[in-house]
C-alpha cells in the first residue's frame, strides 16, 4: 500500500539529496565527468567573500522584512476582523498579491521604484521632496526589496492571524471591557498573548521564506548595486546556472539549509520560552 509513496519519496527526495551531498565533494560542470576534490568546496566557501556578503545581506533583509511583516499582518488582521460591509472584498484584496506571480509583482514594483520615471518619485517630487534612488543606491536597495517582498506576502500571514483572532473567545474581551480596559490594553493583554503560537509560526515561516529570497533581486537589481542585494539563493543560482559549478552550488545549498535549521531552532526556543 505504501510502496508508491516510498518509490516517489526515494526518487524525488532521497536520491536528489544524496546526489547533492555527493556533489559537495566534487567539481562538476554537468557536461564533463565529475572530479573528486575532497573538502575543497567547503574550504573555498569558508574564505569566499561573496558568500559571506550574501549571508549578511540575507540577514539584513530578514531584519527588515520579518518585523515589518509580522506587525503589518497583525494590524491588517485586526482591521479585517470586523463585521462590516464589503469585508470579503477587502480580505480578498489583501490576499491578491499572494496569488499573483512573483515575477509580475516584481516587475510592477521595479516600475514604481524607477528613479527617473517611477510613480513613487513622482509623488515625492509633487510633495516638494526629493527623488530616492530606490534600487540604485547601496543604502536603499535592500530596504526597497524588503518592502516589496512584504507587500507580496503579507496577505498570507494576515490570513493566519485572522484565523487566530477568530479563535479568541469573545467573553475575554467582554470581561476586560467590564474591568475598564481600553481597546489598546485589550489588544496588548489579550490579543497578543493568545496569538503567540501564530506569531511563532509566522516568524518561522517568514524566516524560511526570507532565506529563499531570489525573484526580487534577480528581476530588479541582479544582486547589485555593489552586491548589496545579493541573496544566498541568488548566489547559488549564479554558481549553478550561470557558471555551471554544481559542486560549489550544492555546498552553498547545504550550508544554507543548515543555517535555516539553526536559526529556526533558535527562534523556536526563544519564542516558546516567552509563551
Amino acid at each position: 500500500m505504501s510502496s508508491p509513496y516510498l518509490i516517489f519519496f526515494l526518487m524525488f527526495s532521497v536520491y536528489p539529496i544524496l546526489f547533492s551531498l555527493t556533489l559537495v565533494f566534487h567539481r562538476w560542470n554537468i557536461i564533463s565527468p565529475m572530479k573528486f576534490v575532497g573538502l575543497e568546496n567547503l574550504s573555498y566557501l569558508a574564505h569566499d567573500p561573496l558568500f559571506w556578503k550574501s549571508i549578511t545581506n540575507t540577514f539584513y533583509f530578514l531584519a527588515i522584512h520579518i518585523p515589518l511583516q509580522v506587525v503589518l499582518a497583525l494590524v491588517l488582521a485586526n482591521a479585517l476582523n470586523k463585521k462590516m460591509w464589503g469585508i470579503t472584498f477587502f480580505r480578498a484584496s489583501f490576499f491578491l498579491p499572494v496569488v499573483i506571480s512573483g515575477v509580475v509583482v516584481t516587475i510592477l514594483w521595479k516600475s514604481l521604484y524607477s528613479t527617473e520615471t517611477g510613480l513613487l518619485n513622482s509623488l515625492l517630487i509633487q510633495l516638494g521632496l526629493f527623488k530616492i534612488p530606490w534600487l540604485t543606491s547601496v543604502h536603499w536597495a535592500m530596504p526597497s526589496i524588503a518592502i516589496m517582498a512584504t507587500w507580496k506576502n503579507v496577505g498570507l500571514y494576515t490570513v493566519f492571524f485572522l484565523a487566530g483572532l477568530q479563535g479568541i473567545p469573545r467573553h475575554l474581551y467582554e470581561a476586560a471591557e467590564l474591568d475598564g480596559a481600553s481597546p489598546f490594553q485589550q489588544f496588548i493583554h489579550i490579543t497578543v498573548p493568545v496569538l503567540n503560537p501564530v506569531v511563532l509560526m509566522v516568524v518561522i515561516l517568514s524566516t524560511i521564506n526570507g532565506f529563499n529570497l531570489f525573484i526580487e533581486p534577480y528581476v530588479t537589481t541582479g544582486g547589485g548595486p555593489v552586491n548589496s542585494t545579493l541573496s544566498v539563493v541568488l548566489y547559488i543560482y549564479r554558481q549553478a546556472f550561470s557558471f555551471y559549478k554544481m559542486g560549489y552550488a550544492a555546498t552553498l545549498g547545504f550550508t544554507l539549509a543548515l543555517i535555516i535549521f539553526i536559526v529556526t531552532l533558535i527562534q523556536k526556543t526563544v519564542l516558546e520560552k516567552e509563551m
Partner: protein, 437 residues
C-alpha cells in the same frame, strides 16, 4: 489494485508510450533512413530561413534528408543545448553557437573538429575575413565552430537631438564625446532634475550586460584585444582598461548616463541621444519610431590618444557539428550548403543578420540587398574589424567579476577606475589559477 497504484501505473505507461520515444535517438531505422537533425535559433525570421534551406536540401539530396527544428525554448539557447548534451539528444548540426561556450563543449569532447574535413581550409579561407581566421580556434589548435553570422555593436544616435544641440558627428574621441554630452544632457522641463541624457548604459550587473558597454569599449580602445592575451595574461589590466572604466565613471558622475532602471526603450522615447546596440535594433526602430525620429550610426568612441581602426564586438554566432552525429560527413556537407552565397543572401534578406563573409558589401550578389537596406552598410563595413570572445571556460565568471567592478568603480564610484581594473584582473587571475589546480 489500489487507486494510487493504478494512477502510478497509468503515469508510468504514459511516460513509456509518449515521452521516451521522443527523447531517444533513432535506433530503429537503417543507416539509409537516418535523417540528420538540424537546429537553428528560434526567432521567427531564422526559422523561416532554416525551413527554406532544409526544403531545398531535401529536394536536392533525397537520400540524406534533414529534419529541422528550432532550438527548444529555454531561458537561453546555451542552457537548452546543455540539457541536450546531458541527455545525449544534441542535433547533428546547430547554427546558433555562441563562441563563449565552445571551449567548454570542446573540453567535454562533444564537438566534431571541423578542420578535419579535407575541404575545410579552402572554404574557411575563401569565406572568413583573414583578420578573423584565428579568432575561432580552440586551445588545442583545432576549429570546432564555423563563424556564420554577426551583429557588430555600434553607437546609434538620434539625428534630431544631435542637430538641435549643434553637435557634429561622428564623435571619435572621449573628449569629443564629453563635449557633446555636456550639450545633450539637459533638464528640459526645468524641474531641477535631468530628463535628457547623452547615452544609456545598463546598470544591471548580470554578467552578459558588459558585452555591450565595457567589453565593446575595451575592444575599441585597445585596437581589437579580447580579455586574455595569447600568452594567457589579463589584457584589460592595462591603461586602455583603466581609460574605459574612467570614461564610464565620468559619464555617470557628470550625469551623462542615467543611474536608473527604465521601462521601455529610452532611445525610442528620445530620453537619450545615443544608444549602444547591434543591427537587430534597426527593424525594431523602423517598426515603432515616430515619423520625426531619425537615427544614424557611429563607431564606439576611443581614448584621445588612440590611433587606428574602429574595432567592435561582433556578437558572432557559429555553426557546428556535435559528435553525437552518426553521419558527420553528411552533416558537414549540409553545413557547407548553409554557408553558400545563395544561402547567405537569403539569411540577409529574411533575417537582416550579416553573414561573416569577405567583402560582403562589394559582392555583386549582395549589392541589391544593400541598395534596398542602406542602413546595414555601416555594419557590413565593420565585419573585418569585429572581435569575438576568448576561447575560455571561465568567460562568464570573468565577465561577472568585471561587471561587479564596473558597478563599484563606475556606477557607484566607491573605488577608482585603476583600483577597479586592478582588482578585477587580480580576481580573474585567481579564478584561473584556482580552477586549473
Amino acid at each position: 489494485m489500489s487507486g494510487v497504484t493504478k494512477i502510478l501505473l497509468f503515469w508510468l505507461t504514459s511516460v513509456a508510450v509518449f515521452v521516451i520515444p521522443c527523447c531517444s535517438p533513432q535506433e530503429d531505422g537503417s543507416e539509409s533512413e537516418y535523417k540528420l537533425t538540424f537546429w537553428s535559433s528560434n526567432n521567427s525570421f531564422e526559422i523561416q530561413h532554416a525551413r527554406e534551406i532544409v526544403s531545398k536540401w531535401n529536394v536536392l539530396y533525397p537520400d540524406h534528408k534533414v529534419r529541422y527544428q528550432p532550438v527548444p525554448e529555454g531561458r537561453s539557447s546555451e542552457e537548452v543545448i546543455l540539457a541536450a548534451i546531458v541527455s545525449k539528444s544534441t542535433p547533428d548540426v546547430y547554427t546558433n553557437i555562441w563562441p563563449g561556450v565552445t571551449q567548454q563543449y570542446v573540453e567535454a569532447g562533444i564537438m566534431a573538429r571541423l578542420d578535419q574535413f579535407p575541404d575545410f581550409d579552402s572554404l574557411y579561407t575563401a569565406r572568413v575575413p583573414s583578420s578573423l581566421h584565428d579568432k575561432f580556434r580552440s586551445k588545442d589548435g583545432g576549429i570546432y565552430q564555423f563563424p556564420w553570422k554577426c551583429n557588430p555593436i555600434v553607437l546609434y544616435y538620434n539625428k534630431r537631438m544631435v542637430e538641435a544641440a549643434g553637435v557634429e558627428v561622428p564623435l571619435r574621441t572621449y573628449s569629443e564625446f564629453f563635449r557633446a554630452a555636456a550639450k545633450l544632457t539637459q533638464d528640459s522641463d526645468g524641474d531641477g532634475y535631468l530628463d535628457r541624457w547623452m547615452m544609456d548604459v545598463d546598470i544591471n550587473t548580470e554578467w552578459w550586460h558588459r558585452f555591450f558597454d565595457v567589453y565593446t569599449m575595451f575592444i575599441a580602445a585597445s585596437g581589437g584585444k579580447t580579455l586574455v592575451d595569447e600568452d594567457g595574461s589579463i589584457s584589460f589590466d592595462s591603461s586602455e582598461g583603466i581609460q574605459v572604466f574612467d570614461f564610464l565613471r565620468q559619464g555617470f558622475e557628470k550625469g551623462y548616463f542615467p543611474n536608473a532602471f527604465f521601462q521601455g526603450d529610452v532611445f525610442l522615447q528620445q530620453k537619450v541621444a545615443l544608444h549602444i546596440s547591434g543591427p537587430w535594433n534597426i527593424s525594431h526602430l523602423e517598426r515603432y519610431r515616430d515619423d520625426d525620429f531619425e537615427y544614424g550610426f557611429m563607431p564606439m568612441p576611443v581614448p584621445d590618444d588612440y590611433q587606428g581602426n574602429s574595432y567592435t564586438y561582433g556578437d558572432p554566432k557559429c555553426a557546428g557539428i556535435f559528435n553525437t552525429s552518426r553521419n558527420p560527413e553528411t552533416a558537414w556537407k549540409f553545413l557547407k550548403f548553409m554557408l553558400t552565397e545563395p544561402a547567405d543572401k537569403r539569411l540577409l534578406e529574411l533575417t537582416n543578420q550579416l553573414p561573416i563573409r569577405k567583402n560582403i558589401n562589394s559582392n555583386e550578389n549582395f549589392i541589391e540587398y544593400f541598395e534596398k537596406h542602406p542602413q546595414y552598410i555601416f555594419f557590413a563595413d565593420m565585419i573585418p574589424n569585429i572581435v569575438s570572445v576568448d576561447q575560455s571556460i571561465y568567460l562568464q565568471e570573468m565577465f561577472d567579476i568585471i561587471s561587479q567592478e564596473f558597478d563599484a568603480s563606475c556606477v557607484q564610484r566607491l573605488k577608482s577606475p585603476r583600483e577597479g581594473i586592478r582588482y578585477a584582473a587580480e580576481r580573474c587571475r585567481n579564478l584561473i589559477k584556482r580552477e586549473e589546480l
